[in-house]
Symmetry: C2
Subunit: 231 residues, 2 copies
DNA sequence: TCAAAAGTGTTCACCGTACACCCATGG
DNA sequence: CCATGGGTGTACGGTGAACACTTTTGA
């Protein structure tokens, strides 16, 4: 007789992952929702999600599901929280682990999988999604706010080259407040983690605005030296 | 034929909850570990945990498990994160949701359930626990640090009446750094959320130190007025 | 030439931090 | 009377916030 206690008598449950996918464009911060084409709540909007398989981790499941919708890999993702209210999914007992993902809408190497009828929504104009997805979005947003102030994750939402104005717009839309232009630029410059390119972007002004790149190498080096990103 | 899509083909997995139980006494911040009396890793130390049942939420499971060990209810608990590495539990595929709990060691209305061979350990002297429990502890501690600076959760670890010195010792041991006595007291007093009692505690000095209570009512009122706890 | 966005520094108030001495009391 | 922990206030520097004008250039 084995001394190893097996877990045969314990309950097994369905585990889902749901992703709050953030994007950013000229209109501000957005989330990607998909339209359900099956009951219950056919036609309603929901986060992109899927079920955890036996042989994968939660992160792998979240990445798989994100890949299915966008074709993208190596996307910044972070676990937010787990949700387990008894009736949260009316079909069957399911617990769900929410993630948030940051993707750069502008890059053209991704196409939304048509089958999911995905659509970008401004936070303020998004329809109320199914189940407890609204709560997931709210908590993901809180996490994003906090994290964006202490880590350079905002750049995940921007194109490789961006203007100071774009960066400021991004932070304003994440934090949901207006920031002072000079103070913002002073702070950013004090961090010394951007490279100012020679190029200018002339799409929004006659004068043209300098383009910047995030200097990841320099950032990592400063981190090693004890530097703390703080906005 | 029903239009409702069922989830029959999806994998179900075992879901566990594991609790990082923090306590505080004269020696500092401690965690409660239990000694396994079955294989694998019989004799090793582990967090208190249990399996999620079909008809309960994760919070309920965490509370049930905590109650089994301590007899306590209504304990401050917070979800930390979920862990799902494939080999994390060698017996069977199990994902685990970690919680942290704050309990007041000094209160005498709880008795540790003998069956679990539980023992308090100072953080620096705790044995390395099984599986990924070390990582859970590290992340729970990070969360506790952050949360204790922005919420009055520290009081959960103290007796109802406590001295300023005790409060300072608590924060020093959560933050793992020495704090200046005058600055600490000034900060705490500026918050105006403590009541100074007439009573003194004479166990640590001849002069005696005033006892304080957390004024929860006043705190809630200040919160309603937009106050932010910040240490 | 003018409209529209880009770019640029300084001042001030407040907060966080450093710091040292007297008090009360039991033994 | 003295050793031990308790209790108290101020000064300084640095950081965060407020604030306005000049530059560029395409239309």
């Amino acid at each position: 007789m084995s001394l190893i206690r097996h877990y045969n008598s314990e309950d097994k449950v369905l585990v889902a992952v749901d992703s709050v996918i953030f994007g950013f464009d000229r209109e501000g911060l957005k989330i990607l929702l998909i339209k359900r084409d099956f009951e219950p709540q056919k036609g309603a909007w929901s986060l992109m999600g899927g079920f955890l398989k036996k042989n994968e981790t939660l992160d792998q499941a979240a990445n798989r599901v994100l890949h299915e919708l966008t074709g993208l890999d190596s996307i910044y993702m972070e676990q937010v929280s787990s949700y387990s209210e008894l009736g949260r999914d009316p079909v069957e007992r399911t617990i769900s682990v929410a993630f948030f993902a940051l993707i750069n809408i502008a890059q053209h190497d991704f196409k939304l999988n048509k089958a999911h009828h995905a659509q970008w929504f401004s936070l303020s104009q998004a329809p109320t999604p199914i189940f407890d997805h609204q709560q997931m979005i709210a908590e993901a947003l809180e996490r994003l706010k906090r994290k964006a102030l202490t880590n350079p994750i905002g750049f995940e939402l921007l194109p490789e080259k961006f203007t100071m104005r774009q960066l400021q717009d991004l932070y304003e839309s994440i934090l949901n407040e207006k920031l002072d232009k000079r103070n913002f630029i002073n702070k950013i410059n004090a961090l010394e983690i951007l490279i100012r390119l020679e190029e200018k972007d002339k799409t929004t002004s006659k004068k043209g605005a300098f383009l910047y790149k995030f200097d990841e190498e320099k950032y990592n080096q400063k981190i090693d030296e004890g530097f703390n990103f703080k906005l």
